[in-house]
Every structure is written in C-alpha cells, then in structure tokens.
Symmetry: C2
Subunit: 276 residues, 2 copies
C-alpha cells in the first residue's frame, strides 16, 4: 500500500522533537546507505516537526556525514533554533545504536524550512538547462550487470536514464568528463516533492567514475537548496566538479523539472575513491 519511497523515509514521533525511523537496506551503495536517502529521512522528520507551524518545505539543508549508516533502526532529533513567520531554522541529528544501546551520531544537519506556496512567481533565473539527449535515447542504469548492482543495490530504487556519452556511468570505460547527467524518476512513480529532492541531488554516481576513479566517494558535507516544488514528470539532473584537489572534490548538482524550472541546487564536498 502506498509508495515504497514513503515507507523508506517514514518517521514516527516518539517524543517532542524525537522521531524513530527504520533505514531501508534497499538504498545501499558500497556497503553504506546513500547520503541523499538519509538526507530525506532527516528532512521528513523536520517536516513532521515544522509543518503544523506553517513551514512544511525545505529551503536549505546542510548535512555533515560523520559515520556510515546501516540498515535498521535510527533516531532523528530536531531542535528548534528559530521559528519565525516566514521561515524556521532547526538543528537535526540522525543517530543509530550500538549493541549496548548507546547512540552513535551518523549525520548532523542544519536546515531552514518555509512554505513553497508563499514564494512569489517573480522568476528571474538566468541559468539555462544543460543539454541532455531525449529520454528514450538515454540508458536505464538499473539494467547494469549483476556485479555492479551487487555494489549499488539502490539502482533498483529509481529509474535513472543516463546520458550515453557518460560511458563510465553505464558500465563502459570512463569518458574523461568531469560531469555526469541523467533523467530521473523514482522506481514506483512516486511524485518528486521537496523532500524527495533531498534524495535526488545525491543519486548520480560520483563524477570521479568518469575520471577513472571508480568506487564510492564518501560525502563530507552536502548542502541542498530546494527552490520550488517540481512539476510532474521526469527530472533532469547533472553533477559536475571543477576543483579536484588532493583527493577531495566539490560536486555541484542541478535538478531541472519538466516545466524547465531549476528546482534544486546542491553542492557537496566529497573524498575521491582511492586510486586503484
């Protein structure tokens, strides 16, 4: 019943500002859980905490990843820093539990929420969407061979259609590009709302895959700006790095909706996979 994505990010309030979650192993990558999925779990707990106060939508969320999460029980705590008329700012923490029951912090985050319905229609965006081949000419990443899917089980959680020029992304040799791009939908067609955008911005493989550095690139910090609720239909997403230094790189993500709106921008600082 309902969408699997909603079950995966579900939270249940167990005390004031405290929410229980059950992290879904279907969002695994390289033995850990995807950072965007975890961000949406935190984002969903914050939404539960703030929507009755008139602030249902993330405007900006910054997350610092301090230890790898695993499938199973987790807790999100939300502390109000300032609840105003236009926006609310909170601190949130996602923790899991050791065998003796003591908590281990996985992610610490700050966020400002508001209400997209309050944003005016004064759109002066100068950015233009990137070029991406038509949906049907792109390559569904969930058709990857079994050895890839064993490393990235989460490929089954969404319908991502990659630009065929991103040869590294679709299982071929690295293209040498410093960008990766694709069409994106959730696997079960669940509409992408502002909370799901927190997942979308971290679903593409790291751009390092095209730079000849395959493997998982752990996120140090990720900040997402959610600027609008997307129109229905597949999203166009792109990651790019411009400053790879000493095994550390920034990754900028843009998410464009079917109506041609730049609905989300994110940037993360990540550690490159160790050179093979």
């Amino acid at each position: 019943m309902g969408y699997e994505y909603d079950r995966a990010i579900a939270v249940e309030q167990i005390d004031a500002g405290t929410y229980a979650a059950n992290l879904d192993g279907g969002w695994s990558v390289g033995g850990g859980l995807n950072g965007g999925y975890l961000l949406a779990v935190i984002g969903n707990a914050i939404k539960s905490d703030l929507e009755d106060l008139g602030h249902p939508d993330p405007y900006a969320v910054s997350a610092y990843y301090v230890s790898p999460s695993v499938a199973g029980p987790a807790r999100v705590t939300v502390r109000h820093i300032r609840v105003g008329r236009g926006t609310a700012t909170v601190a949130a923490t996602l923790s899991q539990f050791q065998d003796d029951g003591s908590p281990v912090e996985r992610i610490t985050a700050l966020a400002t929420y508001g209400d997209h319905a309050r944003i005016s229609d004064d759109v002066r965006t100068t950015a233009v969407p990137f070029d991406l081949p038509p949906y049907d000419d792109c390559v569904l990443t969930s058709t990857a061979p079994p050895e890839v899917k064993a490393f990235v089980p989460m490929l089954d959680r969404f319908a991502m259609r990659a630009d065929p020029a991103n040869t590294g992304l679709i299982g071929g040799p690295p293209s040498g590009s410093t960008a990766v791009q694709a069409w994106f939908e959730l696997a079960d067609g669940r509409p992408i709302d502002p909370i799901a955008l927190l997942t979308v911005v971290d679903t593409l493989p790291p751009v390092t895959i095209e730079m000849g550095l395959p493997g998982w690139a752990p996120t140090v910090e990720l900040t997402a700006h959610i600027r609008a609720t997307p129109a229905p239909g597949p999203l166009r997403i792109r990651h790019e790095t411009r400053n790879y230094v000493g095994g550390c790189f920034e990754e900028d993500c843009e998410v464009w909706d079917s109506a041609g709106r730049l609905v989300a921008q994110s940037r993360q600082l990540a550690l490159a996979p160790l050179a093979q």
Copy 2:
C-alpha cells in the same frame, strides 16, 4: 600592535569549548555586522578548539544566520561531533546577550576542519579563472562617497578594487549583470589565511546591486569550502547568481589566489533587498 583584523576576530577561551569575542563595529553593513566577518570569528574559535588536535584549517563551514549581530560582547560555543585522524567535525554557535544576560543565538554552524599541510599536490582543477581587468584599472571601493560609506562602514576594512564594468558596485547605475567581481586584500595588508577566507567569501556587495535592487541582502545560509591556503598577494573574487526566484537567490563565490589556484568556493542563499 599586530593586525586590526586579528584583533577583530580574536577569541579568548573562558571554559571548555566556550570562547568570548568582542564583535567589531568596523565590520558593519546596513546596521548589522557582515556575515563573513562573523563566520571568521566562529571559525577562529573552532580553530582554537581544534588546532591542538591536529586540525587547524577549515575544510567546510556551513552557517545559518538566525538573528542580526551587533557590535560588542559575544560567545562562541564549540561542540565536538567527531574528531578523527584526518578531519574533525563540530557544531558551533555564536550568541550575544540580552539586557537581562540571557543569550540570543545569532548564528548556528557546522564545520569540518583538517590540516591543509596534509592535502596532496594532486591538483586536477578544471575551472579557469574569470576575466578581471588588471589591478590598477579597477576601482577602489573605499573611495565611495560618504553616504555610501555611512551605510557600509566595513568598506574601510579592506582594499577591494572592483571591476569598472560593475557600475552598480562603484556607485553608478546598475549594470544589469548577475555577477560582481573584484581584487581583494585586507586594509592593513594582513595575509589571507584559511580563516580570513571565511570573511573574503562574503565581502562583495550582493549581486542584486547590479540587478537594480540596492540594499542589504540578508544571508539565510552560507557554506564555504576552503580548499587551500592562498599564496601571498591580492585575491580575485567573484559572486554570481543564476537562480533568482521570489526574492530569494543563491550566490556562488569563487576566490582565486595570485598563483592561479581556486582556493575557496562558497554558496549562500540570500533574501533580496525589498524592491525600492
């Protein structure tokens, strides 16, 4: 004795993880204090807290601005979230005091620190520096007329030489551009270290000044990635927005050093000045 910038960002430990500061009115803009200056005060307290643990340099800092700071006493508290071998992650808060002595939170921040000396020389930056006219052809912003300097006293704290094409930035009519750029040094020649870069990324006037929206643009959130310690000499800085929607805009900043290195990248989400 010493540099005025060091006096302005000085902190004194008063308890474990607690630092006293005295916010400098010389860094005022539009009746508040500059967000980059405040970020360096927080960054300096974190540095004091972490340098003995081997993590003197900011890698990533995310700050959420919840109320306007004023000149005078302030307190920075630093909480360790994870102190590892390569990096340390902390939460920090800058507070001031009401007449009855109760604290008011001004800025809440998360940060990951490390040591720039540990970063390898494997530089694969693909970004190229922006075009900026030679230093001597640019316009010193501290020569602005008295009515401008009354609104932006901090112009005296640095030697900023603005691109003459940024006519709005140098007191003329708005150019219509969505970017502003300049050369930058601190007024007293104090070398720019990683902590001072936290100030540098927020010293340019908001790009909205060139879009015909003069005035102060309050920062909601600012994340800075400090990627290297700059070489000596003037820095080149640029702010650009690409997604202005409903009075809210992102501002990307790049800081290039005299050796042609992209030493800092930041992005902030800001509120546009109310249309005149």
